[in-house]
């Protein structure tokens, strides 16, 4: 049976974890929530680093814990990879020995990845002879990821692997994480409290709140749901599946097609016909009742208002439907009254900028 199915009840220092869900058995699932919501505790329970009094865990058909039967497989016997917030590299070992630590302990028959390949993917081939103290934060985190992958895991757990990094370091790691998406054929659980980050790498999203799984679903669906707490985030917005339909070399633009129309973005190196996910922040979408006249904004999409939600401070989140594709727009209360927006109002959505992800 495919999927990661768990139910944990854990009480620690006044905090209660009571999480139960069945997450996809492949792809990257982001566990998103505020700090203190229990994301890390949940991940630690799944790894077996924390032993929940009442716990059950099955990973793609393999039972790792069932307190009812007294079954608890200790972490070192679970084929998993764990990337901690801080890289937690062994300071007395060189990078190569760090990378090979789990590999050497994997039974020969189960060894899949190989050192050279992982080094290529992560761009760490030149660091093998160094000690962890001689590496930058970003390099360390890449080694930690490589070490986890070389452990031949059947489940990869990542606990805010970029939380301790500054912006440039994050930007340095991001492409590797995106590549992981296509390279890794195992399920990945990725803990984060950064919406931007997960929008770029995750396929599936589970919201964690007060030690529970509040809701989960495919990324685009979750992002378009304005009733969820993530719709209140500054970075809220829709994720849209598009296809590259052509390039305009003269203007340095790329044409993307989606169900609701066409969108132009700055030239990207993707072949015609390739699928591409883009993200349109709600703050970057403005609404008009008439087709806008002369304007510098390239992207205007016809849509219909399907839902509106007051978010306080005079702000309103509007969910639009553009030919079957959901779009989000954050406007002011005043604009809503002025335009007389209500359910079913046809509008022109002007898109100020588009973030290209994955």
């Amino acid at each position: 049976m495919s999927g990661i199915e768990f139910s944990f009840e854990l009480e620690r220092d006044g905090f209660q974890l009571n999480a139960k869900a069945r997450l996809p058995g492949m792809g990257i699932t982001a566990l998103f929530g505020a700090s203190g919501s229990g994301k890390t505790s949940l991940l630690r329970c799944i790894a077996g680093l924390e032993r929940a009094g009442m716990g059950r865990l099955t990973v793609n058909g393999e039972c790792w814990q069932d307190s009812a039967k007294g079954l608890f497989i200790p972490p070192h016997q679970r084929a998993l990879g764990y990337v901690f917030q801080e890289a937690a590299l062994f300071p007395h070992l060189r990078v190569r020995a760090n990378l090979e630590y789990g590999w050497r302990r994997t039974p020969k028959a189960e060894r899949k990845g190989n050192l050279n390949h992982i080094c290529d993917i992560l761009g760490i081939g030149g660091l093998l002879q160094r000690y962890p103290q001689q590496l930058s934060g970003g390099e360390r985190q890449r080694i930690a990821l490589g070490r986890a992958l070389l452990n031949n895991p059947r489940l990869l757990l990542m606990d805010e692997p970029m939380a301790a990094l500054d912006r440039p370091r994050k930007a340095e790691i991001m492409p590797y994480l995106e590549r992981l998406h296509t390279e890794a054929d195992i399920p990945i659980l990725y803990v984060t409290h950064d919406l931007e980050e997960l929008a770029r790498i995750a396929d599936h999203l589970a919201l964690v709140e007060k030690g529970r799984i509040l809701k989960q679903g495919p990324l685009a669906e979750m992002f378009a749901n304005i009733d969820l707490p993530i719709a209140r985030d500054e970075d809220a917005g829709a994720i849209i599946k598009t296809q590259v339909t052509g390039h305009d070399d003269g203007y340095h633009l790329t044409h993307l097609h989606f169900c609701g129309g066409e969108i132009l973005v700055s030239r990207i190196e993707r072949a015609v016909g390739e699928p591409l996910n883009i993200r349109i922040h709600a703050r970057d979408v403005s609404l008009a009742l008439q087709p806008p006249g002369e304007s510098s904004i390239l992207n205007v999409v016809q849509a219909v208002v399907t839902e509106m939600l007051e978010q306080g401070a005079g702000r309103i989140m509007v969910r639009l439907d553009a030919g079957g594709t959901p779009l989000l727009a954050r406007i002011t209360h005043k604009s809503q009254s002025r335009l007389g927006l209500e359910r079913g109002t046809p509008v022109y959505a002007q898109i100020k900028s588009v973030a290209v992800s994955i």
Binding site: L49, E86, A88, F90, P91, H92, Y101, T106, N151
Partner: protein, 219 residues
């Protein structure tokens, strides 16, 4: 040097080596247990281990003398008892030098980031494997300190040995006692040789330990 002094030197070295080896073997699991345990016994055990630091050696020696006697708790298990024997000396020294080995080890184990152990456990390393592949190498400076302090402290021991060792040349007579005998007999020249030698030896050992540790802490 007189032959009695040479055999005292030999007994001393043998005693110090045996004692520190035994203490490393017993002290390592004890120190690891002290670091890991959540047992209520921990505090009591820590206090017991530290006792030789504050007790006059004569107190420890007195009780050991009783325990090692042919009818004592430990001595009773043997045919002639262990007092005034080399084995008895080893037991006494091990107890007396215990804190000098256990405490540096405990400090070393304590300073290991638990994250390293968790990381190792997610990388297929069993608890024993983690101990040998992570804990031991990371506490190397602690082990060197523990071994040298245990060794040097045993070499410098006097009170306990005097109480339970008798003063049998070639068997239980150690350097510190040989010095005492020389001074009693007003043989100051020999006393100078031995004392100066011990002083220099102790300084060199401590100097080497501190130099090693300073190197490791500032790579």
């Amino acid at each position: 040097m007189e032959s009695a002094d040479i055999s005292a030197l030999w007994v001393t070295l043998r005693l110090a080596l045996t004692t520190s080896l035994i203490l490393l073997l017993l002290g390592t699991p004890l120190a690891w247990w002290l670091v890991q345990t959540r047992s209520r016994l921990k505090t009591a055990v820590e206090a017991l281990v530290a006792l030789p630091l504050v007790l006059p050696p004569t107190v420890l020696g007195f009780y050991l003398l009783i325990a090692l006697a042919p009818d004592g708790i430990i001595g009773g298990m043997t045919t002639h008892g262990l007092a005034f024997s080399f084995t008895g000396l080893v037991i006494g020294s091990a107890l007396y030098s215990l804190p000098f080995v256990v405490q540096p080890l405990q400090n070393a184990f304590c300073s290991i980031n638990p994250l390293n152990l968790e990381a190792a456990s997610t990388l297929r390393a069993s608890p024993l494997d983690r101990f040998f592949s992570i804990v031991l190498p990371l506490s190397r400076p602690g082990f060197i300190t523990a071994a040298t302090l245990g060794f040097a402290h045993t070499v410098g021991e006097f009170g306990v040995v005097l109480m339970i060792g008798g003063n049998i040349p070639g068997e239980t007579q150690v350097l510190s006692i040989a010095i005492y005998d020389h001074v009693e007999a007003l043989e100051y020249a020999q006393a100078h040789w031995l004392s100066g030698g011990l002083l220099l030896f102790s300084f060199i050992i401590l100097f080497l330990v501190y130099r090693q540790n300073n190197r490791w802490s500032h790579p």
